[in-house]
Structures are given as structure tokens and as C-alpha cells.
Symmetry: C2
């Protein structure tokens, strides 16, 4: 078994290179169910928006040339021939020296090419007095001024946030083609792991990773398939990974990858299919034993068993792969905030170190970051209290108390 640690950036690159650039499966769904899904087609406007010449003010639709020369002292008088409301198809024509009352959003009638704002007019029966000239097109949004028919308005790979679903609705779409959500199997291993709800014998701990990873997958729009806890036996682990590979697009295991005689996962992964293990150990803390394999085209991520480490490696190495598997094209970085170290922070020697921190505002409003927990590596307290992490480069001795630092935020 090879045990050479590779640098973090190389690990990420190997993972990303193993994921096809576009997901194979797509589906057609109603737009009202499309929130947070990923577009699998470019959206081409099927018609002009607006689809008609639209008044952008309340006033009078005119032929601009009839208003030329109008001024306060020498206004122009036009004949009122009707009114156009919002949502109405105009059933009148504005001829020379005629005008029609029009409201914001209504369609310009035939003949008219501009709108005089109501503020610059007065009315007496059917006679409308115009005190200011307008030029052709003034106060009118022309058909296609917003979006031209045939224009590409949304692109394959965009995430359907609320406003983009609005664009689809505006263009009359009721369905949209999106990429299918990746199905990701989760396997927890480790002789110490017990399912929550069962009694907890001495020496055992409850399974945390199945639950954090399942929620983290949901957060990214993937579908978690929870395969439960698999005993630390070679055959059982092999069967579980095989079953997972049949039903899922990728597999995440946690536990069973530390250095020791019980390290069954790398052993099993090495023989399950081609190309097999691509790396086995990354030069980061936490996350050193992280192993990555591709089995018959499907990625298998083996994360450490310690809950904070597992969630952290998920964020740093699995998340970028998942975004790609989801069809998201835009680089989606992890949000960062500026904060100040609340104490001296020390990295692990010789490895790129990520330190979990909690964030609090001090009296002056500055964000202060404290490592969580202080001292011993308490996994569960860290999960409860850490809201971000600080990256410390390999050769940095420490971060000084009060130093300005960039904190990466663990969740939205």
C-alpha cells in the first residue's frame, strides 16, 4: 500500500480531473420545482421582452412630431381618442394631432411613437394640451429593449436561484431541463461506531458522520443514500462499497483509513476496479489519511473517522467534486470574512493546517476568531461552536494574537 502524502492542491486537482466535465443525466421538471437545480440547457428567449412597445409612465401616447415646438407659452393641443389600460390590446390608432391616454405598462397604440408624461399636460374634455415636446421613443420601452427574441439569457450550468426562475417564467417556460442530482452513498465504518438511538456500551461512540455528511450533501443539492454502519470486516466493507457503487454516482466512506492493522478501506479499494486508488494520504491537518479512488468511473472518497476532520475534508475535497458532478460551471468559492485572531494560533508542523474557529464580535464590532476548542481536540464541541476555519501555510510558525486573518465560513 502506498502511503506517500501528496500536497493539498494536487489532491484537489486529481479529484477534479476524474470527474467528467458535464453530468450525463438530465431531466425535465416544472419551473416551480426548479429552485436550486442546475440548468442543463441554454435558455434562448423565444420572443421579445417586452413583447410590445410599452409605456413607462402615465400620460398621453402621441406622435412625437406633433409635439415639436410645444412649450409652456405655446402649447400644442391634441384630440383625445381613447384610453389604454394595462393588460389591454389597444383597439385604436393615434392619427396626426390625436392622442390616447395611457398608463405605465400599457401597450402603445398604433400610430403613437412616444408618451408625454401626465405632468406636462392638461385636459379639458377631449382636448389635451401638451406643454413639452417629446422625441420619438421617449418614455417608451420598445419591444425587445429588455431581451431580444433569440438572445441567450441563461446558460447551461447556472444554478436556478429565485431571480433566474423568474426569468424562465417571464419567457413563458413551464418546464426546464436540469441536470439530475447526483446520488451519493454514505458508509460509516469503525468498530467503535454505534447508531444513535441504540444503547452506548463502554468504549463506543455514536455515528456522527452519516448524519453530518448526509446534511452536507443536501446542502449542496445532492441526494444522500445512507448505507449505515459497516463492521470492520474486509468482506463486509467490500460488499457495502460494491452495493453502494451499484446504486450511487459516488461513494463517501468515513473511518477505517488511519495507519494501523485495521485499515481495511484502502485495501478493499485497491482491488475493486480500475483505475483504483489515486492517492492515499494528503499533507494537510486535519485530513491526512484521506484516500481517493475511482472504481469503474465512479469516485470513492474515504474520509477520516473523526467527525470534524470528516466534515472538513468533505468541504475541502468532496464539495468541489460534487459541484462539478451537479453540473455547476461557475467556480463557487467558500465565503470568507475578515477577522482578527483572538489568541496565538499554532499550525501542525510541516503540514498545511486548517484550524477551526468560532467568531464573535467585540464591542467595537470587529470579528474575533478563537480556535475551537482550546486545548484538547474535542470533536463534538468543535462541531457545535466552530463557524469557520483559518488556513495556515505549511511553513508559517504561528498566527499572532490580534493579527488580521481570513476566515472561511463553514456553511451558508
Amino acid at each position: 500500500m502506498f502511503r506517500q502524502l501528496i500536497p493539498f492542491e494536487r489532491a484537489k486537482q486529481i479529484i477534479l480531473e476524474s470527474i467528467p466535465s458535464e453530468p450525463a443525466e438530465t431531466e425535465e421538471i416544472p419551473i416551480y420545482k426548479a429552485y436550486n437545480r442546475v440548468l442543463a440547457e441554454d435558455i434562448i428567449a423565444p420572443f421579445n421582452v417586452p413583447s410590445f412597445n410599452r409605456s413607462i409612465v402615465d400620460g398621453y401616447a402621441v406622435r412625437a412630431e406633433d409635439t415639436f415646438g410645444a412649450e409652456e407659452e405655446k402649447p400644442v393641443k391634441l384630440k383625445l381618442v381613447g384610453r389604454i389600460n394595462v393588460g389591454e390590446a389597444p383597439r385604436l390608432t393615434v392619427n396626426s394631432m390625436e392622442t390616447a391616454e395611457i398608463v405605465t405598462g400599457a401597450a402603445l397604440p398604433e400610430g403613437a411613437n412616444a408618451v408625454v408624461m401626465v405632468e406636462y399636460t392638461s385636459r379639458k374634455g377631449d382636448e389635451i394640451t401638451i406643454y413639452r415636446p417629446v422625441v420619438k421613443g421617449e418614455n417608451v420601452m420598445k419591444a425587445g429593449d429588455d431581451i431580444k427574441s433569440g438572445e441567450k439569457i441563461l446558460e447551461k450550468g447556472e444554478v436556478l436561484v429565485p431571480r433566474k426562475i423568474g426569468v424562465l417564467a417571464a419567457l413563458g417556460f413551464i418546464n426546464v431541463k436540469v441536470y439530475s442530482q447526483p446520488k451519493i452513498a454514505i458508509i460509516s465504518t469503525g468498530p467503535e461506531i454505534v447508531e444513535p438511538g441504540k444503547p452506548l456500551p463502554l468504549g463506543k461512540v455514536y455515528d456522527v458522520n452519516s448524519y453530518t455528511l448526509s446534511a452536507a450533501l443536501q446542502e449542496l443539492g445532492a441526494i444522500p443514500l445512507n448505507m449505515g454502519i459497516v463492521p470492520d470486516e474486509e468482506k463486509k466493507i467490500e460488499n457495502a462499497i460494491k452495493t453502494a457503487l451499484e446504486s450511487a454516482d459516488a461513494v463517501i466512506t468515513s473511518g477505517g483509513v488511519s495507519v494501523g492493522p485495521k485499515d481495511l478501506i484502502p485495501k478493499v479499494l485497491a482491488r475493486l476496479g480500475k483505475p483504483g486508488i489515486l492517492f492515499c494520504g494528503v499533507s494537510i491537518k486535519p485530513g491526512k489519511p484521506t484516500t481517493f479512488a475511482v472504481i469503474n468511473g465512479k469516485p470513492v472518497f474515504s474520509l477520516p473517522g473523526q467527525p470534524t476532520s470528516a466534515l472538513f475534508v468533505f468541504l475541502m475535497l468532496v464539495r468541489p467534486a460534487l459541484l462539478r458532478m451537479s453540473g455547476i460551471r461557475k467556480e463557487m468559492g467558500i465565503q470568507t470574512v475578515e477577522a482578527y485572531a483572538g489568541e496565538k494560533i499554532f499550525p501542525a508542523r510541516g503540514r498545511k493546517t486548517f484550524v477551526m474557529v468560532s467568531l464573535k464580535r467585540d464591542d467595537s464590532g470587529k470579528l474575533i476568531a478563537h480556535p475551537v476548542p482550546k486545548g484538547l481536540s474535542g470533536a463534538i464541541t468543535t462541531l457545535a461552536k466552530a463557524s469557520g476555519y483559518v488556513e495556515i501555510p505549511k511553513n508559517r510558525q504561528f498566527i499572532e494574537c490580534g493579527e488580521k486573518i481570513k476566515v472561511h465560513i463553514l456553511e451558508n
Copy 2:
């Protein structure tokens, strides 16, 4: 009908004051379904974590006092009495001058009170040589060091992000009490509105707001109840709002609140129940006609019909109310980024103005913000391209090209 514009901050305050400080309804759900839900109970640790004294290294469990004085030249020899693996309940006791092999994560056997790292030992059959002393508790995480039994580890009102679901799992929870998700009815009005999928006659536009608002509600963890498009008739609008109030915890309407003879929504809201309309018009752009009522204890938000304005007012005034209705206690601000104005940006005169902008990085990596769209207020292009907004105070003349500005991000 009163038409006095109130300042934005006052509008927000009136809305928030009308929402009870804690949601009335809760439900018990499995933790694997609890992602993004809001805790309705404080979580008290039912047992110590870890629940046993745990070794944090690979090595030998000892009585610390047996190692006192040990050094390279004068090591201590102890008798090996067994081995404790991860997940095992130790079935041995370490008596004076005895030791047991132990791995990281395993439970300390009776009698032992410290662990000597394997690096500072050597082994010859059953004889373990110790080259360095340890103090009591060294390399041991004691029961409760992470979380003490009885400690409050999560609080009512916290959002169950992945790591917090992990905390619940670690404490053996299978179910958790959360607040029920608020059900929010959406009503679109306006004589110009047509449902997507239907033909689009001259003068009409497709309904956008039902879809953007529905997705925006999902984004916040609320349940949208889409009531469809209601014709601009007083009786029909009244019936729609009444029906909505029966099934939903709050109602959002859009359209029908501009100044004009067709402004039916405020008219209807004024008579539907107590206390009725609390404000009718806010001194902001966009969003001036926004109206807010409370009808028999339920909030009704009436947003403008223009899609960008509606989505924007949702974000600024409905979202804070919804977070409160969801039971979220922490102030959840809207994410901001620092950017530079890509051109001169002008506000509306005399109103606090929010200008939608798109963000792009220039060659040097700086984020540049451009108003979307340039010129005419193209609703749909804005939805497609704007990723944030800039706030311009009431009395500011303009933002200079190149000026450093804070951009509020429209979505996660």
C-alpha cells in the same frame, strides 16, 4: 386611504413588531430530515462526551506514578497485561508496574491514568520499556472533557446546519423538536398578468412574481402556497386573500398597489380584519408602494408588481419577518462584498435608493459593480444579470466611478 410614505427602517420595525417572538407550532422529526430546520428546544447533553476516558494517542496505558523518573538512560520496565482496541470495553485492570497496549480512541482500562506514546517505548515480549515519564491525565481525554453531561450544547432558535445535526447524533438523538415551517400564500394580481404556458396576447406579460417569490420562500425554509393569478376585481381579490388567510400563516400579494384607480389591494386590506393596514408606502426605490397589514394576527405583505421590485422588497422587508416566523433568533444579515463602482451611479431623488448591480472581476482581481441594466428599467434582464445591490442614502448625490462600495448579495 392614507398615502404617507414612511422611512425604510420604520417600516421594518413595524413589520418585526407585529411578529410574535416565538413561533407557536413545533414538530418532532428524525434528525436525518432536520437539515436547515430550526431548533425549538435547548439541547442538553444527556451524558458525558466522551463517555469514557479515551486515549488520544497510540501507546501504552499506565499508572503515571510508575513512570516517574524514567529517562533514556534509566528507563522503567512494565509488564504488558493486554491490549485495548477502539470500540472495546477493557476487560483488564492495570495494576502497579503493569501496562496495556492501547490505540487512539480506545477506552482507558481500570487502574491506568495516563498513556505513554509508542514513540517513547520499546517492547520485548511482555516487557515494555518506558523512556519518558508521563503525568496523570497525559494523552487522555477524560470523560466529559468535550461535553459535560447536563451542559447546554445547542440552543432553541439555532439553524440545524450539518455540523449541528452531527452534535445531535453524537448525543444519541434520533428525533429533534423543531419549529414548524411557516406556510406563506402567494397571490399575483394585475390585469396584465398571464400564467406561463398559456398564449401571451398583446399587452400582457407572464406572471413572474409567483415563481420568484415561491423560490425565495423555499430558500428561506418556508412553504409556499401558490394561489395563482387573481383578476383585478375587488370581490375576487377579497375572496383570494380571505382563503389565503385561512390556510397560510402569512400572505404575500404582488401587483395592484401602485397609485391609480385600480389599487384594490389596500382598499380590500383596510376592511378585512383588525388591526388592518399598518403602513401604505415606504420611502425607498424600488418598493415605494409596498403596503403592510395585519389581519387577525396574520401579516399580509403587498408588494409592487414589477418583478425586480417585488423580489427586492421581499428581501428587504419580508425576509426579516420570515426568519422570525421560522423561529431563527440570530440576526441573519445579508452577505456583503466589497466592490468598486464601474461607472457613476445615480440614486432617485429624495428616497433611499437601492441599485441592482452585476459583479465581475477585472484583470487585477478587483470586483467591479455595474448597474443592471444600463438606462431603461428592464425587469427581466435585471433578474438575469444582477447579483447584488448597492444602497444609496437619501441625500447622497451619486456614487463616483471607481468608488469603493459595499454590495449586498441577492442570494447564497
